[in-house]
């Protein structure tokens, strides 16, 4: 793994690296099918007996816990543990709580502010296992929210602070042990899991030792030479090794488009020069996506729309500022001149890891070539998003951002990344501080549609995505293809590459 998880405590972590493990350790009331492709985005009951029963016009969700559930430490699971889990994720706080819990669940804001001792919108009955959740307003993908590892049930009484080296016990096929922060951890099979026999969630076959090393080249070589078994899907294989891997390990390597990720640069709409629409259009018009694709070892599919292809609402029409490719440098220069922002200083924020830093180095040079005065700031991967998420003090102008879907619904992209209500003082994900009344209203309106009924509002999401591309609120530079790369020892044909969490550890098996 090239980048460490933010934390292995589900109450804090909101990274692909953490969730890749935690969804198998902290099963939610709902979860996702253990399947490849779009089938893997299918919601299934997790610790609940069925998918939630939705009533009161989409404002009440009712579920019942399965019988006989126990945590990995042997303690029985109760319905009230769920309420405690939600409260803990607000208190720590979990990075997604400001988008998916506090404004959504009735009484969560009062609890968050310290005005209530518990969340009034959650009622539980330990005797029957019944859990009723009241929302402030209908929120279509709330059954997806229940699948977040952060809402995977943990025992009542777990300290209300993150425990990165001894995370709480959960209910899932695996438990995490031997944590050495930023270096290694182990996902070992949970011996209590098999007896619970939950349909659709298999037990693991092997224990998995995870080593964290920023040197992705040596990580890839280790898998190529069979001294490690898996290359982390969220890392990029350096181009210098790609052809070697393709020729020497063709039977155990492929690049997979999971269809739910967007790579973009955010443009701060409240700060000069990108408060000016022409300046933003200039960035989009001249961006050389072919160059960026080469920097990403050719694994980037050039694009212009914010919603990726497999997410409902992805537009099929032409890009407003030309077909993504080499970019129109002359047009970009003219737009910068026209905007009156030429010579404006711009700080480009970047992660360290490859190819993200290289992308931003190119982007910095590109901004200079079209008339801005850009410099680059590189931050350690582990602190990058939390640092630029300090929107109150830092005001980052522009920089790298990406999003892998939390769940297959466009509101996951818009509600977190571009909705004005999502601008938070800390852990902000709306890095561009986009606060457009039209977007806000559409997100509010369309977000109420359940994931299962998205087709009814697909055209409206599409129109919204076209609007965002036209306003150049973000400069999308592609959709990433991810490496599915394992050693010779592994039964490659049996592996599951899940569209939301990537590697499914339960599918790992030796030949």
């Amino acid at each position: 793994m090239g980048t460490p998880p933010q934390s292995l405590d589900p109450g804090l972590d909101y990274t692909t690296q953490g969730e890749e493990v935690n969804w198998l350790v902290y099963t939610g009331l709902t979860t996702y099918a253990h399947a490849n492709g779009t089938a893997g985005a299918q919601l299934i009951p997790g610790l609940a007996t069925t998918l939630p029963v939705i009533s009161d016009g989409g404002k009440t969700y009712t579920v019942t816990l399965r019988k006989g559930l126990v945590f990995s430490n042997g303690k029985p699971v109760t319905a009230s543990d769920f309420a405690y889990t939600v409260e803990r994720s607000i208190k720590i706080p979990w990075g997604g709580s400001g988008s998916f819990i506090t404004p959504i669940i009735a009484g969560a804001t009062a609890y968050s502010n310290g005005k209530a001792k518990s969340i009034s919108g959650i009622t539980t009955d330990d005797a029957t296992g019944k859990i009723v959740i009241h929302l402030t307003a209908p929120y279509g993908p709330f059954d997806n929210v229940l699948a977040f590892p952060a809402l995977g049930i943990i025992p009542t009484g777990t300290p209300l602070k993150a425990e990165p080296t001894s995370p709480p016990p959960g209910v899932g096929p695996y438990e995490v042990t031997n944590i050495v922060p930023n270096q290694s951890f182990s996902a070992v099979q949970n011996p209590k899991w098999a007896s619970m026999d939950i349909p659709g969630i298999p037990a693991g076959h092997v224990n998995v030792d995870v080593k964290i090393s920023a040197n992705v080249s040596s990580n890839a070589l280790a898998v190529l030479n069979n001294s490690a078994d898996f290359f982390d899907w969220a890392d990029t294989i350096p181009g210098s090794l790609l052809s070697q891997i393709q020729s020497q390990a063709a039977s155990r390597f492929k690049l997979v488009d999971l269809g739910g990720s967007t790579y973009y640069v955010f443009l701060n709409t409240t700060e000069k020069p990108f408060s000016n629409q022409l300046a933003r259009e200039a960035v989009v018009a001249g961006l050389n996506q072919d160059a960026m694709s080469r920097l990403g070892s050719g694994t980037l599919v050039p694009a212009c729309f914010f919603l990726p292809p497999d997410v409902t609402g992805h537009p099929s029409g032409p890009c407003p500022y030309g077909t993504p490719g080499t970019g129109d440098l002359a047009k970009a220069k003219a737009l910068v001149k026209q905007s009156g922002m030429a010579g404006q200083p711009v700080t480009v924020w970047s992660e360290t890891r490859s190819p993200r830093q290289q992308w931003m180095t190119y982007y910095t040079s590109y901004l200079n070539s079209i008339g801005f005065k850009a410099t680059q700031k590189v931050l350690a991967d582990a602190t990058y998003f939390t640092t630029i998420g300090e929107s109150k003090s830092l005001h980052p102008q522009t920089g790298f951002a990406d999003w892998n879907q939390d769940f297959p619904n466009p509101v996951d992209f818009y509600g977190v990344l571009l909705d004005g209500k999502a601008i938070l003082p800390t852990d902000n994900e709306n890095f561009g501080q986009t606060n457009d009344p039209y977007i806000n209203a559409q997100v509010q309106k369309l977000g109420a549609t359940p994931t299962t009924q998205l087709s009814s509002v697909a055209s409206q999401w599409q129109a919204l995505d076209e609007y965002v591309a036209k306003k150049a609120y973000v400069a999308v530079f592609g959709y990433q293809k991810f490496p599915e790369f394992a050693s010779d020892r592994i039964n490659y044909s049996g592996l599951v590459f899940q569209p939301i969490y990537g590697w499914d550890f339960t599918s790992f098996a030796l030949k």
Partner: protein, 346 residues
């Protein structure tokens, strides 16, 4: 040990510095030869030190000529990217960076002489500009270290008592942290916020950080030397003549510390260049797209299997430069004081 007494006013005594009257090879010296001439005579005899001094000078000149090479020969700037561009090599058109991100190797022509990096930039041009930046940081850091190290050592050693206590404890705190660790911490914080009016991405930020972490390495030996000097007769004589403390420090102490300070300069310079590369490699030094040998190594590390030249070329330059400064510095030390044992590092 033989000493040479200087003029009555502002006298210079080389008892702790240049060892006059002793040639270093057992030969008696002609009468009337000055200490600096003596040092130069010793240095001239050290052919290895002179050779490496010349090598270092050559590196400096080459780096200073970077803009000329960039403008008149390579026709490309150090930060000019050309990822999707092509170049004709041996009549064949080749991508500067391939579709899967592999940069072209050395062409041995004026364009991309030493190949390209992942961003399609000319490695030879960046090598020279990177050298300028690495040397600039090294020189500024050395100046900061020498200025504040000398000042701290002088004040602490001369005044002793509470002044010495405060300065020495501050130096102890800095000394307690390994230089690289302290550099990473300061470099990371300052890269985000900058220092006062200095933007976090300027070269001055790593220069100040590196200059700061090495202050105790100079201040402590200087302090020890001042503690000895202040008890000498010529200092008493200066006091008797009515010279104030700061006059004594300026006109009596500093000239006697000159040889030690000079010996420290190349040693600190070599360490500063190395620390810059290390901090940059760890993400806490020079910020891209600025070129430095450290950034070039960092940027090339992921491409070692297919583009080894991206790391090899700046690595060789770094080794040559640091080695030449160190060997010349050793020669300088031998020339100024063949019995001194000045070392940097712990």
């Amino acid at each position: 040990m033989a000493t040479i007494s200087g003029p009555a006013s502002g006298g210079t005594e080389f008892s702790e510095g240049i060892d006059a009257g002793f040639s270093g090879d057992g030969q008696e010296l002609p009468p009337g030869i000055g200490p600096w001439s003596l040092a130069w005579r010793r240095l001239r005899r050290n052919k290895v030190a002179l050779f490496f001094g010349g090598v270092f000078l050559l590196v400096v000149v080459l780096c200073l000529l970077g803009p000329v090479y960039s403008h008149d020969i390579a026709h490309i700037g150090p930060d000019t990217e050309n990822i999707t561009g092509t170049i004709k090599v041996g009549g064949k058109t080749e991508d500067i960076v391939s579709l899967i991100g592999i940069p072209i190797g050395p062409t041995w022509t004026s364009h991309y002489l030493l190949g390209a990096d992942l961003e399609g930039r000319d490695v030879a041009v960046r090598l020279l500009y990177g050298g300028r930046n690495s040397l600039e940081i090294g020189v500024v850091a050395t100046l900061i270290t020498m200025l504040f190290g000398t000042l701290a050592g002088l004040l602490a050693g001369y005044f002793r008592g509470i002044t010495d206590g405060i300065i020495s404890r501050i130096l102890d705190v800095i000394w307690a942290y390994p230089a690289v660790l302290l550099g990473i911490t300061l470099g990371t914080v300052l890269a985000i916020r900058g220092i006062g009016p200095l933007h976090g991405t300027t070269l001055m930020v790593p220069a100040i950080v590196i200059g700061f972490v090495y202050i105790p390495y100079v201040a402590r030996p200087i302090r020890a030397q001042v503690l000895t000097l202040r008890e000498r007769e010529f200092i008493d004589a200066a006091r008797q003549q009515g010279l104030g403390n700061f006059q004594i420090m300026w006109s009596e102490m500093l000239p006697n510390l000159a040889s030690t300070i000079i010996v420290f300069v190349p040693l600190i310079l070599a360490n500063a260049i190395l620390l810059e590369a290390a901090l940059t490699f760890l993400g806490a030094g020079v910020q891209p797209p600025n070129a430095s040998w450290g950034t070039m190594i960092t940027e090339g590390i992921d491409n070692i299997p297919a583009a080894f030249h991206n790391v090899l070329v700046p690595g060789i330059m770094l080794v040559i430069t640091v080695l030449s400064v160190n060997i010349f510095g050793d020669g300088l030390r031998d020339a100024l004081d063949p019995r001194a044992k000045v070392r940097i590092g712990r």
